[in-house]
Amino acid sequence: MITINLAMALVVAVLYSVGFYLLLQRSLMRVLIGVVVLGHGTNLLLQLVGGPPGRAPIVGEVPAGALVADPLPQALALTAVVITFALTTFLLALGYRSFVLVGHDEVQDDVEDRRIASQEVPAGGLDDPADDLAPTSEGSDK
């Protein structure tokens, strides 16, 4: 029972590719648009895997024997659409606030991580090995 045809597979692939690509950008606005596009792709995929196109799932409106669209993925996708909207507005507000405070809306590199990356590897490891082999008096002798 094939539920995703070639054309729809192509649409999903393009939506996800574009979403991923925008997500990898440095402009917060683009990242946000990437999230929205990914949301569209996901909702579409959710609906597509539910089954091939059919009649709307309304009792009494469907002639006997006709193919009906699966209602459960539709309900889930509907929830997802609304949640994506909430996420979009919140991200937008965040991006705007960042713009107001910092003056641009670019994703910055983490300076602390950069520092670790450029750190020199300690030559002798974590500890110098040349001690503690001599006899030591016990703690109780203190």
Binding site: I2, A7, Q25, Q47, V81, L87, G139
Partner: protein
């Protein structure tokens, strides 16, 4: 048996109440549970030697986990050391620790907890039970070696002991799982009754041996044991001589009856055991600290025991049990003697001690008695054991092993002589040490142990009874006199050779302790791990968000993508489209999506996203989801409005500078591959469907009757899955609150006309 173990741990927890009043009383109380365990084991001796006493408590029955205990001959021998010698050593602590010593209360509780864990370990009849107690002993050892953690040397030694033994312990756990799965049971007695073979069993055995070798300080893992000598002397005597370090030997002895025939088991045991015996003995000859001398002696003896226990054959195993008891009974008093000397003379450096034989005659005699057992002098238990060991390898024709053990015994005698000479002899040119007389608590315990070695040497039939309970009757018998023969010759050669070696120690000195220093190896490994961590962190943690997201994406492509490719099952009858309307709508979505990537102006990009949204909504209609499409259109319109509100205040173009090709191409490739992977997996998974979902049919039936709705979607959202919808509304509220606070914060900044957020500032930013 579980009750006994738990009693140890429970009393250990309550012990601080006693030590708050008197630390001496605390140690005496702490000695009670091990003494009780020892007494209990003695009352069970008949049953133990006659097949064993078992008890099992369900732990997590659903997982098949149980706490299973069994007292048999081998466990009994270990309990003599763990509980019998243990109780004596804990009593000794009462005299050893000063009354106001800060670490005393802590040590008392930990020693008792250790005694409980060790008791559980030797009684365990289940691989997981054994493992739990095994690691508990590692942890208590770590805490006892590290003491208060104030001394650098203590900390380093404790960490080293923990890292090495836990590394081996984890390997062993893996081996246990493999072995248990191969055998179909984790009960040790059942595994030994019908040992599994083939498959992964050899690997399991090697992993288990790794655990045993690390715990029992075998080459090349041995350096943690001498390093652990920074612990207080009674701790060393108990953990690092009498009991814990024998856990590895015990495990090998426990499993040998089932696996000693396999070369993968006995060859490493014998080879590493003999090598450890030689190396430890040689190093002991070069130590000036009495404790470290004994520590290397322990390493050497553990190698000896490992070779005996792992070698297979009845005589070797019998010798192993005898030496196990003998070693505990001579090494513990020797350590206690060192503690007494240290306490009395204020040092344990052989270069500073002199003339103690005259001022501490009682201690010297105890030491001599214990040392005689170590050197293998009749009629002590050490002699009986060594005779049996030589006979074992001479009789079954493993000559090279016998010769290696002989060489090891020569070294043993030599370092024994060095120990006695170093501790008690009058040395020319060294001032006689001044001592304060040790109290009874410092001397009696070592007497008890040393005399037990003598008593068991003369009363060897008792040891043989325990040994036969382990190896079975018949064949070789322990004896003080076997008649003239090769074993006796070997004993004589060992004694004479060792004494000569000690006599001409000045000749040996230039040879040094040898180029072989495993401690450097350990430090190299630890430093290497640290370096590798810095390098890996530096490579992976670049601080760049696109890099991190890219890494996640590549993982998605590689792992599930490869799995999907390998799984195959690509549908052959995939249609180009189901409904013709899908093609123009899909085309519009694709064009808009590609255009978004190219868009330079923010507003263009947002409008194109709107096109995508409406297009997807159209596809929903085609698919037979009008409700979904309606929601999509509404949300899309609202989103556009919100975007426009914000875009008003942002620069018209994207601010980021146009990136270089070098960056664009890999990003585009990864993104495209990611999209293709997702779509491909979607097609694959949807093709696996065999019919309409069963749950949805029920929704159709229930919607009119249950929810009173003809529209199944609305029935699901407001009735069947109403709680989901409530959660969704909650999310909307939270998002709204977040948005409002962010916007209001900006407005507040602007009203207060200070700094960022003011129109002037915005003008400035916009350039």
């Amino acid at each position: 048996m579980l009750a006994l173990v738990v009693a140890h741990l429970a009393i250990a927890v309550l012990l601080p109440l006693v030590s708050a009043r008197s630390t001496r009383a605390a140690f005496l109380v702490a000695a009670l549970p091990p003494a009780a365990a020892f007494g209990w084991a003695l009352t069970q001796i008949g049953h133990a030697l006659d097949g064993g006493v078992a008890s099992t408590t369900a732990w997590a029955p659903a997982l098949g986990l149980e706490l299973s205990f069994r007292l048999d001959a081998l466990a009994l021998a270990m309990i003599v050391l763990v509980s019998g010698v243990g109780a004596v050593i804990i009593v000794y602590c009462a005299g050893y620790f000063e009354r106001r010593a800060e670490e005393a209360p802590r040590s008392a509780a930990l020693l008792l907890a250790f005694a409980g864990a060790m008791l559980g370990l030797v009684l365990a009849d289940d691989l997981f039970t054994l493992y739990v107690f095994w690691e508990l002993t590692s942890v208590t050892s770590f805490l006892l070696v590290g003491q208060s953690g104030e001394g650098r040397a203590s900390r380093r030694a404790a960490v080293q002991a923990l890292l090495v033994t836990v590394f081996g312990g984890l390997a062993m756990l893996l081996g246990f799982v493999l072995l248990g799965e191969a055998a179909g049971t984790y009960r040790i007695s059942e595994i030994l009754a019908d040992p599994p073979a083939g498959g992964l069993v050899p690997l399991a055995l090697v992993l288990i041996l790794l655990g045993a070798f690390t715990k029992s300080a075998q080459l090349p893992f041995h350096p943690w044991l001498p390093a652990a000598m920074v612990a207080p002397t009674p701790v060393s005597a108990y953990l690092h001589a009498a009991s814990m370090v024998k856990a590895g030997v015990y495990l090998v002895a426990r499993l040998s009856p089932g696996f000693a025939d396999l070369a993968v088991w006995w060859v490493p045991c014998v080879v590493f055991g003999a090598a450890t015996m030689l190396l430890g003995g040689w190093r002991a000859l070069h130590e000036t600290d009495l404790k470290r001398l004994l520590a290397f002696g322990t390493v050497s003896q553990l190698g000896f025991l490992m070779a005996l226990m792992g070698a297979g054959g009845r005589t070797a195993a019998l010798a192993g049990v005898t030496m196990l008891l003998a070693h505990g009974l001579f090494k513990a008093p020797l350590f206690l003697v060192v503690g007494t000397v240290d306490r009395s003379a204020g040092t344990r450096d052989v270069r500073k001690l002199s003339g103690l034989r005259k001022v501490l005659p009682g201690t010297a005699i105890t030491a001599a008695l214990a040392a005689a057992s170590m050197a293998g002098i009749p009629p002590l238990l050490g002699f009986v054991g060594k005779e049996a060991a030589f006979a074992a390898f001479l009789d079954d024709g493993r000559w090279p092993v016998a010769l290696a053990l002989l060489a090891g015994s020569v070294l043993t005698v030599a370092y024994t002589a060095r120990f006695l000479w170093g501790a008690f002899a009058s040395k020319p040119g060294v001032e006689p040490s001044t001592v304060r007389a040790p109290g009874l608590l410092l001397t009696v315990p070592s007497w008890v142990c040393a005399l037990a070695g003598l008593a068991l040497g003369i009363g060897y039939p008792l040891v043989e009874a325990i040994g036969e309970g382990y190896v079975g009757p018949g064949g070789y018998h322990l004896a003080l006199w076997h008649g003239l023969g090769l074993p006796l010759l070997f004993s004589a050669v060992a004694l004479a050779g060792g004494l000569l070696l000690h006599r001409f120690r000045a000749v040996l000195r230039p040879l040094g302790a040898g180029p072989f220093d495993a401690q450097r190896g350990y430090e190299g490994v630890i430093a290497g791990i640290g370096r590798a961590a810095v390098v890996v962190t530096g490579r992976l943690q670049l601080g760049s968000l696109p890099f991190y997201l890219g890494a996640i994406l590549v993982t998605v492509i590689v792992l599930p993508g490869t799995a999907a490719l390998l799984a195959g099952g690509w549908p052959t009858d995939q249609p180009l489209f189901h409904v013709i309307m899908q093609v123009p709508l899909g085309l519009a979505v694709i064009v808009a999506a590609l255009a978004v990537v190219k868009a330079r102006r923010r507003f263009t990009a947002v409008l194109l996203v709107g096109v995508i949204g409406y297009g997807v909504g159209g596809l929903f209609i085609v698919d037979g989801a009008p409700d979904l499409a309606l929601a999509q259109f509404l949300v899309e319109t609202l989103s556009l409005v919100v975007f426009v509100f914000v875009l008003r205040r942002l620069p018209a173009n994207f601010t980021e500078e146009s990136p270089r090709r070098r960056v664009i191409v890999p990003k585009a490739v990864v993104a495209a591959l990611g999209g293709i992977t997702v779509a491909g997996i979607g097609v694959l998974l949807s093709a696996a469907r065999s019919g309409p979902a069963a749950a949805s049919a029920q929704f159709f039936e229930l919607a009119p009757s249950g929810a009173g709705a003809d529209n199944v979607i609305s029935a699901i959202i407001v009735d069947f899955r109403a709680l989901d919808t409530v959660g969704e509304i909650g999310v909307l509220f939270i998002a709204a609150a977040g948005v409002a606070s962010l916007v209001l914060a900006t407005r507040h900044d602007r009203r207060s006309k200070t700094g960022q957020g003011t129109p002037e500032h915005e003008e400035e930013v916009r350039g």
